[in-house]
């Protein structure tokens, strides 16, 4: 179990991410793929995600500035974005993506814009939280992350 307070704190932080709905089971899958051969796997994936998805966010933003909305394109971008987000277990972000796509399908431009703003917020919040989490994990030492409670 936790060998030190940091470990415990890490565990608490991690648990709250799940409890508050920021992360879902997919994140656990990532954690399970992390091992000695791949000690920083989770962080790697998350970093990659934020880097790559920034491009998509930008594309969507630009598309939302062009009127009238090209819903097909918007839906397309969001489809990709959703795929990525679901791969790391970003639960809230994924939910917003789904909602956005619904609005696209029904041609609701106003709904799209609104949802997108919300999505960006969640996206940013999660990023901050995960960054803090990884930082703590590094400080707590590899042992702690390996001994996470199941």
């Amino acid at each position: 179990m936790e060998r030190n307070p940091m470990g415990r704190q890490l565990a608490i932080m991690r648990q709250s991410l799940f409890d508050q709905g920021y992360l879902d089971e997919q994140f656990i899958q990532l954690e399970e793929l992390q091992d000695d051969a791949n000690p920083n796997f989770v962080e790697e994936v998350v970093t990659l995600y934020y880097r790559d998805s920034a491009r998509l966010i930008l594309n969507i933003e630009q598309a939302l500035e062009r009127k009238p909305f090209d819903f097909n394109k918007l839906d397309d971008y969001m489809h990709q974005f959703k795929g990525s987000s679901s791969s790391i277990g970003a639960k809230k972000v994924k939910a917003e993506s789904t909602l956005f796509r619904e609005y696209c399908k029904s041609g609701n431009g106003e709904g799209c814009t609104r949802t997108f703003q919300q999505l960006k917020k969640e996206y940013a919040t999660l990023r901050k939280k995960l960054e803090a989490y990884f930082q703590m994990a590094r400080q707590a030492g590899p042992m702690e992350t390996a001994c996470r409670p199941k």
Binding site: Q29, E32, D52, G83, S84, I88
Partner: protein, 636 residues
């Protein structure tokens, strides 16, 4: 040496070491996928570009056992990649997508994917993907060994026979089901080839891009309708390519085209089917855009037309769309099995199914042929459908409704006074008894054929319908046996018959009768009825309904009974009735629900009929027939 041992160990330890090629443009997903696959102990190669993946595969397809690909990629559509890999390398491909829409999954499977996974992928799912490799290997082996014998075996077993061709190349294993329907068509071209299995063990042909391009060029040059393997082969002018190779590739290609055009054409076909003239029948076939089906000539047209015009509502509806169903009244390779049809009708069949619809040719043939003859009864001559009915009924209605029987008879014949023996059996329809179903079926058939919904021609042939009491009966029997599938046939029959009848047509009344009958039949059919019993009479009313005939020359039209049968569905045929010489010529037009809703209960019908009998003199009045019946609702 160590390496060798490792390799051989790995082989023994399959699925460990299975070589997977993973393609996904999303780096996050790709990294995740790679890690998961490695965790499963597979040998993983990744790329974010479909073109790179193809390149790797083409370099040596034996480098890989399995391909996993995302559906949504910028440089190439995942489905396209899937098809190419299937065509060229014949490796199992698993599709991956964040979108789990049923339609997409269906698309993946029809394009040849052996599995469809949803993102985010779980390791448990990936741990089982090796089964696709094993399955394919087993299939291939079997095909190679059995390619010869399989052909024979297939030939024997109907559908399986179609596969024979494909199996020769062992390529279409996974597409068997999809192609089953197509293979009826293919069989025409490839039939004799597939029956000659013994020599078909040549090495598998790899359809490279250039080869495929040549193929497509050749096909386009010939026109998809006329593209037969032999000609394609000639145009392609490639050494060592056999006709069988081309044939099976053509099947795949057609399947692909069908997929593309399927939905789009369906609607078009349906619309096109409506009320088209005879000449359109043929066109209908091609409307489907599949070009797979050869339109039927002559009488066939009728059939096609009939099909097409059948409203989609019921079985008929479905059948109709693929005008190219190639329903031949006559037995021919292109015959579609009714059973097929039926199933199709019952479920949402795609066009391919319909196409593979085989009409129990013999029946059709009989009907068509029979009908004209029967129609030729002079009796059909008159308008007094009603009158005849009475007479007819007395004749041999063994079935339920003597009255109706007569009605039917009268209808079919269009002539007032000849109780067609066959017709009487039609009366069964009226009754709605269990016999009805059978009788109706036959009636339907008769009427169907006679009806030739599509065009006004059938009307004239109506006469042929009635008189052929014997034939009718035969047809009835046929119809019956077909039961549900008949509905399709009915449509077919109707279509076909009219044409024949046109030639034989004696009388306008017949026409109307025919129309009615056919309509009825179609109506009934739609209802998937057990009682096809659309007696001619029944059809009439139906027709009338749609056409709002106020006066229908032959009272034949009124056929409340048949209307009832049809459950008011699909008849989508709106016969346009035109009066000719006092007769109704109903030209069926497609219409959502054909069955007149004014058809009342059998009782009403019966009483109407009775009344009619008494009013022979009035029977001549078209209105009479129509009005009375039009009030009935189809509630059969």
């Amino acid at each position: 040496m160590t390496v060798e041992r490792v390799i051989s160990e790995k082989k023994d330890q399959f699925p460990i070491g299975m070589r997977v090629l993973a393609v996904d443009d999303d780096p996050t997903c790709l990294l995740l996928l790679e890690t998961l696959l490695r965790r499963c102990q597979y040998n993983v190669t990744i790329t974010s570009q479909a073109v790179t993946a193809l390149k790797l595969l083409r370099e040596n397809k034996n480098n890989f056992d399995l391909v996993i690909s995302d559906v949504h990629m910028p440089d190439m559509d995942g489905f396209k990649l899937l098809e190419l890999v299937g065509l060229e390398m014949d490796l199992p491909v698993i599709m991956l997508s964040a979108n789990g829409d049923t339609k997409l999954v269906m698309k993946g499977i029809t394009h040849g994917g052996c599995d469809y996974l949803l993102k985010p992928v779980r390791i448990e799912e990936l741990q089982n993907i090796w089964q696709h490799v094993v399955r394919r290997k087993k299939f291939d082996r079997k095909d190679r060994y059995n390619s010869g014998s399989q052909d024979k075996a297939y030939t024997d077993s109907g559908e399986a026979a179609r596969m024979g061709n494909v199996d020769q190349n062992g390529k279409l294993n996974k597409k068997r089901k999809d192609q089953n329907e197509e293979e009826d068509e293919e069989r025409d071209e490839n039939g004799h080839d597939s029956e000659d299995p013994s020599t078909q063990k040549e090495p598998r042909v790899v359809w490279s891009v250039e080869l495929h391009h040549k193929f497509v060029t050749a096909v386009k040059q010939l026109g998809i309708d006329k593209a037969v393997p032999k000609k394609i082969l000639e145009l392609m002018n490639v050494e060592k390519l056999t006709r069988e190779n081309v044939a099976s590739h053509l099947q795949k290609y057609r399947l692909y085209l069908k997929r593309i055009t399927c939905l789009a054409n369906q609607q078009a076909n349906m619309a096109a089917a409506v009320g088209s003239a005879d000449s359109t029948y043929l066109r209908m076939g091609s409307l489907n855009g599949l070009g797979n089906f050869h339109t039927l000539a002559g009488s066939d047209q009728l059939r096609n037309a009939a099909f097409r015009s059948f409203p989609p509502g019921g079985v008929l509806g479905r059948l109709n769309t693929p005008a190219g169903l190639g329903m031949h009244g006559l037995p021919s390779p292109g015959m579609i099995q009714l059973n097929h049809v039926q199933n199709l009708g019952n479920t949402n069949n795609d066009q391919s199914k319909l196409q593979s619809f085989v009409i129990p040719g013999n029946h059709n043939a009989n009907i068509l042929q029979g009908m004209p003859m029967s129609l030729e009864l002079d009796q059909l001559q008159n308008n007094k459908g009603v009158n005849h009915i009475g007479e007819l009924s007395t004749a041999d209605n063994s079935t339920v409704f003597p009255v109706s029987g007569s009605l039917i008879n009268a209808r079919t014949t269009g002539c007032s006074d000849n109780p067609l023996p066959g017709v009487t059996s039609n009366s069964l329809m009226l009754e709605g008894s269990s016999q009805q179903a059978t009788l109706h079926a036959s009636n339907l058939r008769d009427s169907v054929s006679a009806m030739g919904f599509k065009s006004g021609n059938p009307l004239s042939h109506f006469t042929s319908m009635a008189p052929a009491s014997d034939q009718l009966q035969d047809s009835k029997a046929d119809l019956q046996s077909q039961a549900s599938p008949i509905s399709c046939n009915a449509g077919q029959i109707i279509r076909n018959a009219p044409q024949e009848w046109n030639a034989a047509r004696k009388d306008a009344t017949y026409q109307s009768n025919v129309m009615c009958c056919s309509i009825n039949s179609s109506i009934s059919v739609n209802g998937a009825m057990d009682h096809l019993g659309p007696c001619l009479d029944q059809n009439n009313p139906i027709f009338q309904r749609n056409i709002d005939l106020d006066s229908i020359g032959p009272s034949n039209f009124v056929d409340p009974l048949s209307i009832k049968r049809c459950e008011g569905e699909n008849l989508a045929m709106e016969p346009s009735v035109t009066q000719k010489e006092g007769y109704f010529v109903v030209q069926p037009r497609l219409q959502g629900s054909y069955i007149p809703d004014n058809i009342g209960s059998l009782e009403d019908l019966a009483s109407a009929m009775m009344k009619r009998e008494q009013d022979k003199g009035e029977a001549a009045d078209g209105n009479f027939g129509c009005n009375a019946y039009s009030r009935r609702t189809n509630c059969i």
